[in-house]
Symmetry: C2
Subunit: 366 residues, 2 copies
């Protein structure tokens, strides 16, 4: 396997962890693959000074300066407002492709549908990987994920941006540290950039969203050694903007266990400004929505306590554990051992369905 040597393109945005969340995600969870970060305003600094991530990785002014680190991949690690490609980035991306660098693109703009980028890729013998582009041959979900023997864990949430990807990745790495063969199913562009495969479900037709989740779980489960599959949730049942996406992921991936992710002390549901329901209501709705297809329980709560001091974080974790009657931790701050124990202890016995497993043409984006 070729070693990945990524340059993160973060022009004008590396100081902004929201707009640059794909770049930050890769720096946090796959720092060994990163050789440089591009942001002309911050050139000469160490990535760690800006992001508290990626110690020793240099920030450079442009791709020409980054070439001395012999990169073979350019990751567009920043999402401009609206998600479309700013024209000022075009020349740098063309240059990367002509130099033979694989370009990972998380923008809404699909580079592989732009003639100029396609020609540049041909010139350089490079690949364009549009992280948001869905496979052409998606199908509907038909409860095939039930046939996977591994313990399937889905991270669900009380809202958007409450740590569903982070929790799944923290649990993945903790499981691997313990020697449990595990895999991660990425459902958003940042997760895909980190994992190197996945399907961005927000760009899938509504009929095929559950099918995309099913396919990811089947792909991960095709390796019979894998004992634990962590599926990245998207949206939330209580977030009306994205509730259908979450339910599709649930009914496509058919988890055995769920982890509920929650931003500590959040009072209002984002975007719609409704009062945040009590945790018990979220848990009940997740379990009931699964039960009508196959039973699965919320086994623990992953609490996002970022911005609190440690005492405050410990206090809110303790209070939440009492409120919910479940194990609770902040996996970023205190490790995900508590969460992993909860899903490993309670994993129900799988009952494989009868009949042959349908042939699935597995074809993840890369």
């Amino acid at each position: 396997l070729k070693t990945v040597r990524t340059v993160i393109f973060a022009e004008g945005s590396f100081a902004d962890d929201i707009h640059c969340k794909t770049g930050y995600g890769v720096l946090r969870y796959a720092p060994d693959t990163v050789v440089a970060v591009i942001d002309s305003q911050l050139a000469g600094r160490d990535a760690y000074e800006i992001s508290r991530l990626g110690r020793g990785i240099p920030v450079v002014s442009d791709l020409t300066s980054a070439l001395r680190f012999e990169p073979n991949r350019l990751l567009i690690g920043v999402a401009p407002a609206g998600g479309a490609l700013p024209e000022s980035w075009r020349q740098e991306i063309l240059f990367a492709l002509r130099k033979g660098l694989e370009v990972l693109n998380g923008l809404h703009t699909i580079l592989s549908e732009d003639k100029e980028f396609v020609e540049a890729a041909e010139t350089g013998g490079a690949r364009i990987i549009d992280l948001r582009k869905e496979p052409d041959d998606l199908d509907v979900a038909l409860c095939r994920a039930q046939r996977v023997e591994a313990n399937v864990v889905l991270t669900v949430g009380t809202d958007c941006a409450c740590g569903k990807m982070t929790t799944a990745l923290e649990m993945l790495y903790e499981a691997r540290r313990r020697g449990i063969p595990s895999d991660f199913c990425a459902t958003g562009q940042t997760g895909i950039a980190i994992a190197g495969w996945g399907i961005s479900v927000d760009h899938v037709l509504s009929d095929f969203t559950a099918g995309a989740a099913e396919r990811l779980v089947l792909e991960a489960g095709a390796d019979k050694n894998v004992k634990l599959i962590l599926v990245e949730g998207q949206g939330a049942l209580a977030q009306p903007v994205y509730s259908g996406v979450m339910l599709s992921l649930m009914h496509g991936s058919l988890p055995d266990n769920m982890i509920l992710c929650h931003q500590a002390n959040q009072q209002l549901v984002e975007l719609v400004d409704r009062p945040m329901p009590p945790l018990a209501e979220h848990i009940s709705l997740y379990e009931e929505s699964m039960r009508i297809i196959k039973p699965a329980k919320v086994r623990a709560i992953s609490l996002k306590t970022r911005g609190m001091d440690e005492n405050e974080a410990r206090r809110v974790i303790e209070e939440t554990a009492i409120e919910a009657g479940l194990p609770v931790t902040d996996p970023v701050r205190f490790g995900s051992g508590v969460l992993l124990d909860a899903v490993l202890n309670d994993c129900p016995q799988k009952v494989p369905l009868s009949g042959e497993m349908a042939h699935i043409d597995l074809n993840p984006p890369f």
Copy 2:
């Protein structure tokens, strides 16, 4: 307003009510707009002999024969396996466009993206209306439907094909018979062909499905005289293939009341062959899934008893009413008065949210 004079194109399929369901839907709910049906194998017959619908409407062999009825619209009323355009239909559709007939197309193949069809339409001064094509400017749902003052009723179900469109249309016509100003929000191609407007939500990206439902309700509610809005549901929370679509419709349309549609005596959930859960479980899940956003109750059950004799139908309706503790009827067989009474009697007072209503650029397909 121009009078619509539709020819239903049902070549080779008019005897098949499943493949021809869009044509049958229009014959059932908008027969006055139909002047002829094309099916060369059945030419010379009366539509009623074949379909038990559209008495007096002739079946003809081709469009040339239909021209004497002065049509101004060709509805492709048949869905071939796979949904793609059979090449053998191309000449007939081109002929229609060149003759100036508006073509309503429910196929997956988008005719307005095919150069030959576009040119023929230009030649004839005709319009192509692709029923499955989604608007370009869909947005996410943001609980704006709450601001509509009319009583919003969503037809939900225990599975696909259990009468959600039919129930909504039967209730619409019953409400209009009673003099209640009412509108219908079509979410599938047959409903759109009948209503003349709507959005086919199975061709919308998952992030925008709820937004599509929201937009339809806002469009219907923009007429302040409208007191009752019937929204056509799709899929079912207990049908894993389409559960996310249903939840999106619920959280986008924000119904005040729901009608549960069910095929009498159905034992297995279609496509996945799981045991059909008891009605109480469906009702509870629909109400809980709404409650976390805004409360809405299932007020009555629409039972599909097609194929039963009348005594059997009355018996199963009575049994279901006892089981569920709700009003029950088959609206096709016995009228939808019972269902309409249930949502009119129980309509909760709307509490409009504060603030100005956001500007919505309403732009239904036609």
